[in-house]
């Protein structure tokens, strides 16, 4: 019994620190450790390997509770619309380039909308990507109304019989009321123009983000109803554990992970690979 006691305390503390270091946050980390006490008897806590497997199961059960939306061409031949949104610098524009490449490789016809009309050279950046992958880019001049760009892009997607329309929006902090209203307006334009058509709202999140990402996800989810998450920059040293809290609280599935700056650096999210990586 003494041995069990001696082994379990440092193990659990180290485990909680590992989870915190991975950005799961102290609350979620604490909940997982508490659940561990519930599920395992005193003897089992000594076995670090067993403990680790149990924690992985806890995390996997949260991540697997949701499944990502379908991505392939719509059987009814309507363009599948994807709205990409998120805070500044998270990787939205680059993710659109990579996603367009993936869809085109699978035989899709992709249109991209340059609805970031605010940031310097945002349209030019998207145009480079469009050219790289062979996607038609719909854009207006800098400073144009983003909703007008979206409206035009929806029309173009239908007219050109595109399989997918990917919409790039300006980075915005979720605390900025006017920018969130702008996003809601874009959302309304799409919903009104394409009622019943397949329409996804993906938040693009930087894996280096801390707990503020949960507040971001809440605000964006309230604004447009997120249907997916893309976790970028997972090729760095950050673990992106905040997505566990997001999955737990908001039930938004993670569709993709970004693993670099190149065309092919977008992978479908694997809950197992992600969870294993937390412990490396």
């Amino acid at each position: 019994l003494f041995a069990a006691n001696a082994g379990s305390a440092p193990t659990l503390e180290a485990l909680e620190e590992l989870l915190i270091a991975a950005d799961l946050g102290p609350i979620v980390a604490g909940q997982i450790i508490a659940a561990l006490h519930q599920r395992l008897g005193r003897r089992d806590l000594k076995e670090l390997r067993h403990v680790e497997e149990t924690v992985k199961e806890e995390i996997l059960s949260v991540l697997k509770a949701t499944t990502p939306p379908p991505l392939s061409a719509d059987p009814d031949a309507r363009p599948r619309v994807f709205l990409f949104l998120g805070v500044n610098g998270s990787g939205k524009t680059t993710t659109i380039g990579k996603f367009a490449k993936r869809l085109i490789d699978e035989g899709g016809k992709v249109i991209v909308a340059g609805a970031d009309t605010f940031r310097a050279a945002a349209i030019e950046q998207l145009q480079v990507w469009g050219k790289r992958v062979g996607a038609h880019v719909v854009c207006h001049q800098a400073g144009a109304d983003p909703s007008a760009v979206v409206f035009d892009a929806l029309q173009a997607a239908v007219a050109r019989q595109a399989t997918h329309l990917l919409i790039d929006t300006a980075g915005r902090l979720h605390t900025k009321r006017n920018l969130m209203e702008e996003l809601k307006k874009i959302h309304r334009v799409i919903s009104r123009q394409m009622p019943g058509a397949p329409y996804e709202r993906f938040m693009v999140l930087d894996a280096t983000s801390g707990l503020n990402a949960l507040a971001q996800a809440r605000e964006f989810h309230d604004a447009v109803g997120l249907t997916g998450l893309v976790l970028t920059k997972l090729d760095g040293t950050a673990k992106g554990g905040i997505v566990v809290a997001i999955a737990q609280h908001l039930k938004v599935p993670i569709a993709f992970v970004g693993l670099g700056e190149g065309l092919d650096d977008l992978q479908p999210f694997s809950p197992e690979a992600f969870t294993d990586a937390l412990f490396v």
Partner: protein
């Protein structure tokens, strides 16, 4: 916030008579939780709590009528102490063109900050030259050019490698009397060896008076990893913490200052080019405490 939670802790403890050192452990647990929730790195929190503990078990807290408030005061003062109670200005060479180099992870705000610093230096009577040393990101040069144009600031765009662009820009600056050179480099991972070596080469060629790491205020636990590597490889002279106009608590500020000892010199508080302020440790301390 922390003050309310500590008030509850001490209300309960007070019911058992005089406060003891044991009781303080409970209060410190609340402090630890508050700092972790603010995204301060867990190792940094450990060290910081030790500093607080020494003062928290002293008479100033144990004999106070409002021990909760005393603990908050101690935490606040220790935070300000670590964050840097003295202002560190931008370094500058008067005679030949000085270089100010901006480095950091992808999307942290380097290009925007380069233009903001250009505007700042202009208002101080300098004549900066913005250097578009990011040769990889699509339209990075155009981005800096548009920003520079909006301020009436010259932007140097060159061909070749980032290193070559930086070297060429020095000749241009000498010729036209620009000072300093503001080098906007590509975003990169601290674990990307060749790209970190590229920065070392640029540093060796340009001998910058300032090497500032531009870091996102919403960075979580990973902030120490990138800050330590950039500092180890380059010898940073300071940080710029961006996107503080959001509601991230900004614990990364304590983390990066704590592990590198380098000062945070500026904060970015918006996307517009006038949204740059000198760092205020007292404001940051209040923000981290929530």
């Amino acid at each position: 916030g922390l003050a309310e939670r500590l008030a509850l802790v001490f209300k309960r403890l007070r019911g058992h008579g005089r406060l003891t050192e044991e009781n303080i452990i409970e209060a410190l647990r609340e402090v630890r939780l508050a700092l972790l929730e603010a995204d301060v790195n867990f190792k940094v929190v450990k060290g910081f709590i030790e500093r607080v503990r020494e003062r928290a078990v002293g008479r100033e807290v144990l004999e106070s009528l409002t021990p909760g408030q005393q603990v908050v005061k101690v935490v606040y003062e220790e935070l300000v102490g670590v964050l840097g109670s003295t202002r560190v200005p931008l370094a500058y060479a008067q005679d030949s063109p000085s270089a100010l180099m901006l480095v950091g992870l992808h999307g942290s705000g380097k290009t925007t900050t380069a233009a903001k610093l250009g505007r700042w230096l202009l208002s101080e009577g300098r004549s900066p030259l913005l250097v578009a040393a990011d040769q990889t990101r699509p339209a990075a040069r155009e981005q800096l050019q548009i920003l520079g144009n909006s301020l009436g600031l010259p932007v140097f765009v060159g061909t070749g490698t980032s290193l070559q662009v930086c070297q060429e820009s020095r000749a241009v600056a000498k010729e036209r009397g620009h000072n300093p050179l503001i080098l906007d480099t590509s975003g990169r991972l601290h674990v990307d060896e060749p790209l970190m070596q590229e920065l070392v080469a640029i540093k060796q060629a340009m001998c910058p008076a300032e090497i500032l790491m531009v870091a996102d205020a919403m960075t979580g636990q990973d902030a120490v990893n990138s800050a330590l590597r950039f500092d180890a490889d380059l010898g940073l002279t300071g940080f710029v913490l961006t996107k503080l106009d959001g509601d991230a608590r900004g614990g990364a500020a304590l983390s990066i200052r704590s592990v590198t000892g380098k000062p945070i010199k500026f904060v970015g508080v918006g996307e517009k080019l006038d949204a740059l302020e000198p760092f205020h440790p007292d404001r940051m301390a209040s923000r981290i405490l929530g």
